[in-house]
Symmetry: C2
Subunit: 245 residues, 2 copies
């Protein structure tokens, strides 16, 4: 991880020896008294922690917050609930691409029992998201929600939000810069691994979605999501230069 995320700002932080973060700082980063490492406040600033004390009880640090984290893209994702192993990869990758809200919905071709996976039944999904943000050097953690159907997911969107669904089979054209012009906020919908059904395509069109493609080849769900978020950032003029503290 490139920074360690904390829940809230404190002038001094203490982590006990058995805390996995203490072990990370000591054994992975190899740091001791006087050394610094990057920290961030969840959805807040990035800064440095400096180790003031290191003893058998744990470590104590001061914190100096200085930089804004990259801000999230004005993009929300709707994703047909995929297999847990695909969802795991997505949760780890998504924070590095900056979407705002991510809604997993039970699509016609989703397997509803995937919701019973320990990924979703335990805190595993939150841990993966947090690790993704820490790896991405970003404090922003996308909001995740679950919906029972595509209809419910569409009804949860804001009015006036640009709407694009990715589809290989009934596409109107490619996802290019003209697809997002004048949009302030974008919703992007992805079918599950088996794709959309005719019924879902009808619901999407009725809900104001354009069906677009991401090029001529068949992409895996996770590849399509990375590709679409990169293109959306570019088309929205949000591929900013990185923060380099």
């Amino acid at each position: 991880m490139n920074l360690i995320l904390l829940e809230k700002e404190e002038s001094q932080i203490c982590w006990k020896t058995e805390d996995s973060r203490t072990q990370h700082v000591r054994n992975v980063l190899g740091l001791g008294i006087g050394d610094c490492f990057f920290v961030g406040i969840r959805n807040g600033l990035i800064g440095k922690a400096q180790i003031l004390e290191d003893g058998p009880e744990g470590i104590m640090m001061s914190m100096d917050l200085q930089w804004d984290s990259p801000s999230p893209l004005p993009v929300d994702l709707l994703i047909g609930l995929p297999r847990p192993q695909v969802a795991r990869r997505l949760l780890r990758e998504i924070p590095s691409l900056g979407p705002g809200n991510v809604t997993f919905f039970i699509a016609d071709k989703s397997e509803p029992s995937y919701r019973q996976s320990k990924l979703w039944k335990t805190g595993e999904w939150e841990k993966l998201l947090q690790e993704g943000a820490e790896q991405a050097f970003s404090t922003f953690v996308p909001k995740i929600q679950h919906m029972e159907s595509l209809t419910e997911a569409i009804n949860g969107l804001e009015h006036g939000q640009g709407r694009i669904a990715f589809d290989l089979y009934e596409t109107e054209g490619s996802f290019d810069i003209s697809s997002v012009k004048e949009e302030k906020r974008l919703a992007m919908a992805f079918g599950p691994e088996g794709g959309w059904t005719s019924n879902e395509r009808r619901l999407l069109r009725k809900g104001g979605f354009r069906l677009l493609a991401l090029g001529p080849r068949v992409l895996r769900v996770e590849t399509a999501i990375i590709s679409a978020l990169s293109l959306a950032a570019s088309h929205l003029g949000r591929l900013d230069i990185p923060l380099v503290p």
Copy 2:
């Protein structure tokens, strides 16, 4: 897989019962006499195979080739040799994004022993690439080569090819459409998981590379490669509408 790749065109194809493709057609696709499935000729056309006979010896099919496969992008990749598990994911994903040539080089921060992995010592890498192309519904399989150093990899490029290296730390700007204008062919270089060294940045600049970023967050190597290939396809005007037979 969405099509099955074959080495060469034949009017009739026979696969023995023990052939994994026969098992795929029978057990995964659940097909029998009279049924069709998609096939493609490596670096050639896409078409349909129809099952004419299905017996204890195997299956016999006719082949009817009809469609051009999506053509490769005029983009070559240079990738600092990553851990075998990352290389496996890349080999599976890369065919869906269409680069022409992919050169893995031993970067300053690569571990040269990764070349001794069974991934590279057996045919595993070729199998992953082929599966990637079959999944992507593309017959084009990128050419893979290995080089001993970044210098050797740079020397292997064509003259007059646009050159971009991705870097978070000494970036000139973001990878936008102006980065590729008037380029006929593009080389894109990615450091290994630990990033570039100062020496490599110097070699890249000397070799005509611009150092650019893919947005403000730190991306994993495989995410950066998917993102950069998607943006390159878009900037080069090559996000064509998919083939839908």
